[in-house]
Amino acid sequence: MIMAGFEYQGQKPFNEVYFTGIVRDKIGRKMSKQLGNSPDLLGLVDQYGADAVRFGILIASPAGNDLMWDESSNEQGLHFNNKMWNALKLVKIWEGRTQDNQSNAPWFAVNWFEQRLRQVRIQLDELFRDFRLSEALKTLYTLIWDDFCSWYLEWVKPGFEQPIDTAVYEKTVSFFEELMQLLHPFMPFITEEIYHQLREQKGDITVSQYSTTETPDEQLLQKATFLKEVITAVRDARTRAQLKPKDTIQLFIQTVNQKMYEGTESILSRQVNADEFAFVNEAKDNCINLVVQKDSFYLQTTVELDTTSLREQLEKDRIYYIGFLAAVEKKLSNEKFVANAKPEVVEMERKKKADAEAKLKVIEESLAKIDGR
C-alpha cells in the first residue's frame, strides 16, 4: 500500500500504521480455525453484549503486544456494566429528593471530582497520542469504578431518606455524563443508554463534543488523595479494634497542617462514622492511635477496647519501623551513595528517615499510653 501510494499518488497513503498484537488463548497458542481455540465471536456478543466483548479484548491488549485472551475478560466487562448501571440507579433515586441550598453540602467532593476529570483528560490525550488504548481504558475503568463509584458517590450520598442539594445533584449528573462521554469510544452502547437515562438530552453522546482540557488544581488533588488515605486508615483501625459500623467514634487529629483538612471535615467524619471531630495539640489518652503521613489520629469510643490486640499491632508496627529506619540509615551512612546518587534521591531517603522517626515516636507514645506510663 505504501509502494502504491508513492507510485500513484506521488505521496504516502497514510501517516501512521498501528500494529495490533496476535490474539492468543490463555495458554499462549495463536487462535486459529485449525486449533479450534477461536471462540464464536457473535455468540459472545449475544451473550455478553458488544460493549463487554470490546472491553474484554482491549483490556488484555497492551499496544502492539500479543494478547492472551480468555472468556473471563468478558466477565470483567460485564461487571463493569453492572457497576455503572447500579450507579445510574443510585443517582436516579436521588433525582426525586433534591432540595436547594442544603447546608453542609459536600462541595469538596464536587470540586475534587472536577479536578480529577481534568487530570484524566490530560492523561487520555497523552495515551491516545501513543496509541496506548488499553492503558487509556484502564485509566477510565479506575476513574469510574474507584473514584466515581467508590469514592465520589459515597461522599455526596445523602443520609438515609435525606435530601440531596440540588446543585450537587446537577453536578453529579454532569460528571456522570462526562464519564460516559469519555468512555463512549470504548463502550458505545451502554454509554449512550446511560447518557439518555440520566436526563432528557438534546442530542446523542456519539456526536457530542469533548470540552477542552484544562490544568487541574494539583493541591486539591493531593488533598483528596490524603483524605482517601486517612479514611482508609481510620476504617482499618476501626476494623482492627472490632468496632461495628454503627459504633460512633470521636476523632482527634494532631497535625501541624490543619489546612489539609479544610472543607473535608464533614466528609471525613461521615465516612468513618465520627460524631465529633477536633484538632488537638497533644496525645490523647485511652484512644486507638494511628498515623497517616505525619499526622496522628486518636479514635475515642465508648466501646471497650481490646488493649491486647492494639498493643500487638503497635508492637508489630514498631518492629517494622525500627528495621525500616535501620535500612535507610545504613544507606545514608554509605558515603559512596551520598556522593554519587542524584541529590533528589538522597533527599528522598532523608525524608523517608524523618517520616519513619516521626512514626516511631507516635507508636512509642501510644504504647506508653496503653501501658499507663
Binding site: Q9, Q11, F14, Y18, V23, H184, P185, F189, T206, Y210
Partner: protein, 489 residues
C-alpha cells in the same frame, strides 16, 4: 421512566445502532473540519468475524469515535476484498454440492455463479461489524471488484508494464497442486514435518565406484541433472567431473562441486533437481544445468519421468522405494524432521516448480516506501516493527502476481497463436497495439489468469476514495492534504 434491573444489552445495541444510522452520524463528506480518515484493512469477502478482526476493528472504532467527538470530520471506510483463491474455493464447493464441475463451465458461466455466491453469502463480515458497534460510513462501502476499482487495477497493471516494472517469465514459484495455481510466499505455511530420509546409491558411469546421496524426495530422482559435493570434501574429490547414473532410468548426470553443499549433512553429496527445488534451481542456474520437469499441474508424474507415469507424487514416493531396493540402490532409510511448505488455502504440500508467470520487479518501486518509514514520515506504532519492515523491504523478491484462477482481475494481456502478446485495457486497444507492434492483424485471445488479490488491495487506501480512477476529486484532495490519515493493519 423506570430503569431496568440490569443493562439489557441486546435491546440497547439494536436501538442505538439503528438510531445512529438513521441520523447519518457515521456518514462523512469533506468540509472545513480537520479530516480523520481510517480505511478498514479489507477483510476477505468470504470472511467471518474472528478475534483478530474483533481486536483490530475495536481499535479502529475507538480512534474514529474519539476523533468524531473531538470535532474532527471522522471517516471510516468499510469494504471487502474479493479474495481470489478463497472465494473461488467456496464457489467450487457450492457447485460441487449442486453436482456441477468447474471444468464443465465456461469462464463466464463460472463467474456468474461466483457473483451469485458473492451476493448471497459474501460480506457477512460487514454485518457482523455492525453488531460490534463499528461506526463505519456504510455509504462508502467498497469492493475490490467494483467497476471503478476493477478498471483501476487493470490500468495500474498496464502502467507498470509500460514502465517496464512488470514482466512475464519462467521462474520458480510455489505451486498449489490442489487449487492448481501459483502462490505467493505469504500464502505458504511452513510446518515441521517428519518424513523419511532415503540414502540412495548412484553408480559412477563406466566404473565400479558409486556415490551415495540422501533425499526426502526419491520420486524426483528422474528430474536430477547433477550431483553436487563440496570442493574441499576429500571423500569425493576424485569423483568431481565424472558422471553418475540416475537409478532406475540410468541417465548420466555430471558430478559437480560447489561450496553451497554442507559436508556434514547426510552423506555430503546432494542430488540437484532444478525443476523441483528452489535452491537446486539457483544451483542449476549457476552451473548451467538442464532443467527436467517431471510433474503435471495436478502433481502427477508426466512422461518425462519415464517411470511411474500418471502416479501422484506421494504414491510415486511409496512405489519407487521397493523398486530402488530391488535394484540395489537403496542403502538405508532414517526418520527425518524438517520444514515443509503447505498451501494456506488447501493445505496441499506446496510444489516448487518452474512456471511461466507475470512478475513485478520490486526493486523499482520499493525504494520510496522503505525511505518513508526509515525517516518516520510514516510512523509505526510500536516502532519496533520498523526493523521487520526494513528486513522485508531490503530482501524483497520479485512478486509473482498471476494466479491460475478466474475470480479476480483478469490479466490484460492478449496473445496471438504464436504466443506473442501485447498488454491493453480491452480487445480493441489490444488489436491496435498489436498491429503497431507486429505490423499485422490477427485474432487475439486474452490471458486466462487473474491477478493476485494483493495486486488490487495495495490500491485500497486511495482507490476507496477513487484517488486513481478520478484523480483530484473532493474526497481524495482531503486525503492528500494529509492532515491526519490513519491506517490500521
Amino acid at each position: 421512566m423506570a430503569i431496568s434491573k440490569n443493562f439489557e444489552h441486546q435491546a440497547a445495541e439494536e436501538k442505538w445502532y439503528k438510531h445512529w444510522l438513521q441520523k447519518g452520524y457515521f456518514h462523512s463528506t469533506p468540509d472545513e473540519r480537520e479530516p480523520y480518515t481510517v480505511v478498514i484493512p479489507p477483510p476477505n469477502v468470504t470472511g467471518v468475524l474472528h478475534m483478530g478482526h474483533c481486536l483490530n476493528n475495536t481499535i479502529q472504532d475507538i480512534l474514529v469515535r474519539r476523533a468524531r467527538m473531538q470535532g474532527k470530520n471522522a471517516c471510516w471506510v468499510p469494504g471487502t476484498d474479493h479474495a481470489s483463491i478463497a472465494t473461488e474455493a467456496k464457489v467450487v464447493h457450492m457447485l460441487r454440492e449442486r453436482g456441477i464441475a468447474k471444468s464443465s463451465l465456461s469462464r463466464d458461466e463460472f463467474l456468474s455463479y461466483a457473483w451469485e455466491w458473492k451476493e448471497k453469502y459474501g460480506g457477512i463480515i460487514l454485518q457482523q461489524l455492525r453488531k460490534l458497534g463499528c461506526s463505519l460510513d456504510w455509504e462508502r462501502t467498497t469492493f475490490t471488484m467494483d467497476p471503478h476499482y476493477y478498471q483501476s487495477v487493470i490500468n495500474v497493471f498496464i502502467d507498470l508494464y509500460n514502465k517496464g516494472f512488470i514482466y512475464r517469465g519462467k521462474r520458480m514459484i510455489n505451486w498449489d497442486v490442489k487449487a492448481q495455481t501459483a502462490l505467493s510466499d505469504e500464502e505458504v505455511i511452513r510446518r515441521e514435518t517428519t518424513q523419511s530420509l532415503y540414502h540412495l546409491r548412484y553408480n559412477i558411469e563406466g566404473t565400479e565406484d558409486y556415490i551415495i546421496i540422501a533425499t526426502v524426495r526419491p520420486e524426483t530422482i528422474m528430474g536430477d541433472t547433477a550431483i553436487c559435493v563440496h570442493p574441499d570434501d576429500e571423500r569425493y574429490k576424485h569423483l568431481v567431473g565424472k558422471k553418475a547414473l540416475v537409478p532406475l532410468i540410468n541417465r548420466a548426470i555430471p558430478i559437480i562441486a560447489d561450496e553451497y553443499v554442507t559436508m556434514d549433512f547426510g552423506t555430503g553429496a546432494l542430488k540437484v533437481t532444478p525443476a523441483h527445488d528452489m535452491n537446486d534451481n539457483q544451483l542449476g542456474q549457476k552451473h548451467n544445468l538442464e532443467v527436467i520437469d517431471i510433474f503435471n499441474d495436478n502433481g502427477t508424474l508426466n512422461e518425462t519421468a519415464q517411470i511411474l507415469i500418471g502416479e501422484d507424487r506421494f504414491d510415486a514416493r511409496k512405489k519407487i522405494i521397493p523398486m530402488l531396493e530391488e535394484a540395489g540402490n537403496l542403502v538405508k532409510t532414517e526418520p527425518y524432521t524438517s520444514e515443509v511448505g503447505y498451501s494456506e488455502r488447501t493445505d496441499a504440500v506446496v510444489e516448487p516448480r518452474l512456471s511461466l508467470q507475470w512478475w513485478v520487479s520490486m526493486k523499482n518501486i520499493s525504494g520510496p516506501a522503505l525511505q518513508a518509514v526509515e525517516s518516520d514520515e510514516i510512523k509505526f506504532y510500536p516502532a519496533k516493527f520498523k526493523n521487520l519492515y526494513r528486513h522485508w523491504m531490503e530482501n524483497i523478491k520479485d512478486w509473482c502476481i498471476s494466479r491460475q484462477l478466474w475470480w479476480g482481475h483478469r490479466i490484460p494481456a492478449w496473445y496471438d497463436a504464436e504466443g506473442n502478446y501485447v498488454v491493453a485495457a480491452n480487445e480493441a486497444d489490444a488489436a491496435k497495439i498489436y498491429q503497431e507492434k507486429y505490423g499485422k492483424t490477427t485474432s487475439l485471445r486474452q490471458d486466462e489468469d487473474c491477478l493476485d488479490t494483493w495486486f488490487s488491495s495495495w490500491l485500497w487506501p486511495f482507490e476507496v476514495f477513487k484517488g486513481y480512477s478520478e484523480p483530484g476529486n473532493a474526497d481524495v484532495k482531503i486525503l492528500l492534504s494529509n492532515k491526519h490519515t490513519c491506517n490500521c493493519t
